[in-house]
Amino acid sequence: DINPCASLWRRRRREGAAGVHLRSLVSDSGKQELIMAKSNASDAQALVRSLRSAYAATPTNLKIIDLYVVFAIATAIIQVVYMGIVGSFPFNSFLSGVLSCVGTAVLAVCLRIQVNKENKEFKDLPPERAFADFVLCNLVLHLVIMNFLG
């Protein structure tokens, strides 16, 4: 099941969570529906708690990759804020900095997809191979970035 929210809700129904008042609108045409939660603050808190616990179940290597992505994006955001303050001169340096962060984040996401055991598509790909690709692509990206940095 692709929709993680749907599987989560099924699990909660099974676990018998109380105090959640649902009003769902299901149409006969079979379209994907927006589930509207008429909830109070505790609903959001419960949601976050369940997300956290579900996340805790992910394997460590995926967590490392996630942390790496967060680090890369955070660096990118700080650079954008700096550019917002001082102006975009020299623009090439700004671009190379931001693209380095974004590029490495994208490559890390690709690595996560390939390494994730739950992903049936890449079942036959050994994770070392994915890691080698990740390293190679990063090196090429950073060569270009270094050239463009100025």
């Binding site: 460590t60 967590k63 490392i64 942390l67 790496y68 967060v70 680090f71 890369a72 955070a74 660096t75 700080i78 650079q79 804020v81 700096y82 303050i85 001082v86 102006g87 001169f89 020299p90 050994p126 994770p127 070392e128 191979r129 890691f131 080698a132 390293v135 090196l139 950073h142 060569l143 270094m146 050239n147 940095l149």
Partner: protein
């Protein structure tokens, strides 16, 4: 200003050129020191000698006649050559000729035995000679030997005479040899000189009838004499394109030499003195020639004419052709021989002096007085009351001793051109501006045209400007100069020139600005007024600034012609150009350093957060291989990645792309190899774990 002067000078030059082309103007002067200095300049020996004996003779003979130069420094190098030529048995007649004629001038020490050998040699050559030039060289050489005091006698004089005479033609010219049908005037001169030498070398007297025939030939030769417009006479070949063509100077010189030499031995020739005078004038009218050969021929021929037995030409010349009334000059006339030597006692009579323009005689039959000290004939012209201008003077020479008429050639009437100059008075000059309809009521300002004025006038296009003045000669007559121009020059350097009309009494110009508006290109503003008056007979010709006039002209219509562009100094483009101040791009505003450093630190914060997060997640190195070889590869793998990152750092700091790519290529190959080993080892261990 330069343009004005150039304008005036150009006009004067035009007048002079016109004058010089006038016929009958005798600007001939006898041989003077100019010729002497020219001779010294032209005949310059190289390393103490001249290139050939012929040129040596030309140089030394010219020096000898003119009385300049030293032969002592030449003789040192030339005498041995001469001696060599004389002693050689294979010398041609021409070589003997060139060598022998130098001996008299150089004063080489040559034994009489050598001369006798040469003489006998020459006699043999004469017997065998068949061409005119060979006969000429041989006979003249023999004459020179005789001149050295050695006895030289032409045995068969009649025969030689006959063989030379045989080559003559009916028109007085000579052929070079019997094969050649071409006759030449130059050859005639050569032949006559040779015949004269034969007569003087002959042991017995040559038959007088034969000499008479030759005299007749000379008269026929003189029938073919040619003349220029200015009365000079010369000889030239009939055909200019002959193979042996020498110019008129050489040909005439040759004929003069021959004729005077023949007259010296044969007695009186029936040639009118006027022709000798014409020939003398021809040589003198050349002035100072520019080449050595021309100078030699001129001087040599004139020396033959200076003392010849036919008639000695007397040259009448004016030392100064411009006479000034202001400085009370006298009219001076010189009568001398061609070399400036004194003439026999004579009187010069100014037959007529007529104004050049109008041809009306102003003087008649004035006898010139003779100044014995300076050898000059003069006439006081001041009391004669002649006005300024250009005059043609006609002179006549009358010799005191009637015997001299046979000896000297005076040439009848001689014409000369002379200028009489004086100060012209500019009188009653007035300038003023008036309205078109009020001419009589105009207020005129007086001008003093003997100095620059600074009058200032103002006019608009409805008014007129008038300038009047009178020009009076020293004798009080009205004077009409060649140039009377008024120039108006605008501030923008656009100029307009007007000629003044002259009536009987005065010069006047009226500028009607209404009609001139278009001519002035509708340019209003200040115009500088300049007056130019000039003439060859006017000593005080001037170009004066009178002042300025402010003209107010209407606006130019659409289609009005623009004033012509003024000439720019052509060298101004080579001057320095205006300096270019480069405008550099102002550098971008950079943020303050503290802010940049703060954000640098801020950028490193996520990295710290990443490391802390990793620690929290509990990363460990358990996956690191334990056995040595895989461990080594792992270490190398990580080292390789670190090296690549270090390379990138260096690339950013100082390397260029190509060096980096080269290094990266090497490192990359290494990394691939090592990485493959490490990761495949890792993969196999994790596979083993999984299956386990």
């Amino acid at each position: 200003m330069a343009r004005n002067r150039g304008f005036v000078v150009g006009f004067a030059a035009l007048i002079c050129a016109a004058l010089l082309s006038i016929s009958a103007a005798a600007s001939i002067r006898p041989i003077s020191d100019a010729h002497r200095s020219a001779a010294l300049e032209l005949f310059v020996p190289v390393d103490g000698s001249f290139p050939s004996l012929e040129e040596t003779y030309e140089a030394l003979r010219t020096f000898q006649i003119l009385g300049v130069g030293k032969t002592s420094d030449i003789s040192g190098a030339t005498c041995p050559v001469v001696l060599d030529k004389l002693r050689s048995s294979t010398s041609s007649p021409k070589e003997f000729f060139n060598a022998l004629r130098l001996i008299g001038i150089l004063g080489c020490q040559i034994g009489s035995q050598t001369f006798e050998n040469v003489a006998s040699h020459l006699q043999a050559l004469i017997k065998d000679a068949d061409s005119l030039m060979d006969l000429y060289y041989s006979v003249i050489s023999l004459l020179h030997i005789k001149g050295q005091g050695v006895s030289a006698v032409l045995s068969d004089a009649e025969g030689v005479f006959h063989s030379i005479k045989a080559l003559s033609q009916s028109d007085g010219r000579w052929r070079y040899d019997s094969n050649n049908a071409e006759s030449s005037t130059y050859a005639a001169g050569i032949a006559l000189e040779a015949l004269a030498s034969v007569v003087s070398l002959a042991d017995a007297e040559v038959d007088q009838s034969k000499i008479g025939i030759v005299k007749h030939d000379i008269e026929k030769l003189f029938d073919s004499i040619k003349s220029y417009d200015d009365g000079t006479l010369y000889f030239d070949e009939k055909h200019v394109d002959g193979s042996e063509y020498k110019g008129p100077l050489t040909t005439t010189a040759s004929v003069v030499r021959g004729v005077t030499a023949f007259a010296a031995v044969a007695g009186k020739l029936n040639i009118p003195g006027d022709k000798m005078l014409g020939l003398a004038k021809f040589f003198l009218s050349i002035g100072v020639p520019g080449s050595t050969k021309d100078l030699f021929h001129q001087i040599d021929a004139l020396s033959c004419l200076e003392s010849n037995r036919i008639s000695i030409p007397l040259i009448l010349s004016l030392p100064a052709t411009v006479l000034s009334l202001t400085s009370k000059d006298q009219l001076k006339v010189e009568v001398t021989t061609v070399f400036g030597s004194a003439a026999p006692p004579l009187t010069v009579n100014l037959v007529q002096a007529s104004s050049y323009d109008k041809n009306t005689p102003v003087l008649e039959n004035q006898e010139l007085q003779f100044d014995t000290e300076n050898n000059i004939h003069y006439l006081d012209i001041l009391p004669l009351k002649i006005d300024v201008g250009m005059y043609t003077l006609e002179f006549e020479i009358s010799l005191h001793d009637p015997e001299n008429l046979n000896i000297y050639a005076t040439g009848g009437r001689t014409n000369a051109l002379a200028f009489l100059t004086g100060t012209i008075k500019v009188d009653k000059a007035q300038i003023g501006v008036f309205d078109s309809d009020a001419e009589s009521a105009a207020t005129m300002q007086k001008l003093d045209l003997s100095q620059d004025n600074r009058i200032s006038l103002a006019a608009n296009h409805l008014q007129r400007m008038r300038l009047t003045f009178q020009l009076v000669t020293p004798l009080g007559h009205n004077f009409k100069p060649h140039q009377v121009f008024l120039k108006l020059r605008h501030e923008s350097k656009v100029e307009h020139i007007f000629a003044l009309e002259s009536s009987a009494r005065q010069f006047k110009i009226i500028l009607d600005f209404l009609g001139l508006v278009e001519k002035f290109y509708y340019l209003s503003g200040r115009y500088e007024i300049e007056l130019a008056i000039g003439d060859a007979a006017m000593e005080n010709s001037f170009l004066r600034v009178l002042g300025y006039i402010d003209l107010d002209l209407p606006e130019p219509p659409e289609k009005a012609s623009r004033p012509p562009p003024q000439p720019v100094d052509p060298y101004s483009r080579f001057g320095p150009k205006p300096e270019i101040s480069h405008i550099f791009r102002s550098p971008e505003k950079r943020p303050p350093k503290e802010l940049s450093f703060a954000f640098l630190a801020l950028t490193l914060v996520p990295l710290v957060g990443f490391l802390i997060g990793l620690l929290r997640l509990g990363v460990n190195f358990k996956g690191f291989p334990s056995s040595s070889v895989p461990a080594l590869f792992s270490i190398l793998f990580h080292a390789g990645i670190a090296a690549v990152l270090l390379l990138y750092g260096l690339f950013w700091l100082k390397l260029d792309l190509f060096t980096t790519l080269k290094a990266l290529g090497l490192l990359g190959v290494f990394l691939i190899f090592v990485g493959h080993r490490t990761l495949s080892h890792h993969a196999s261990t994790s596979a083993k774990l999984k299956t386990n």
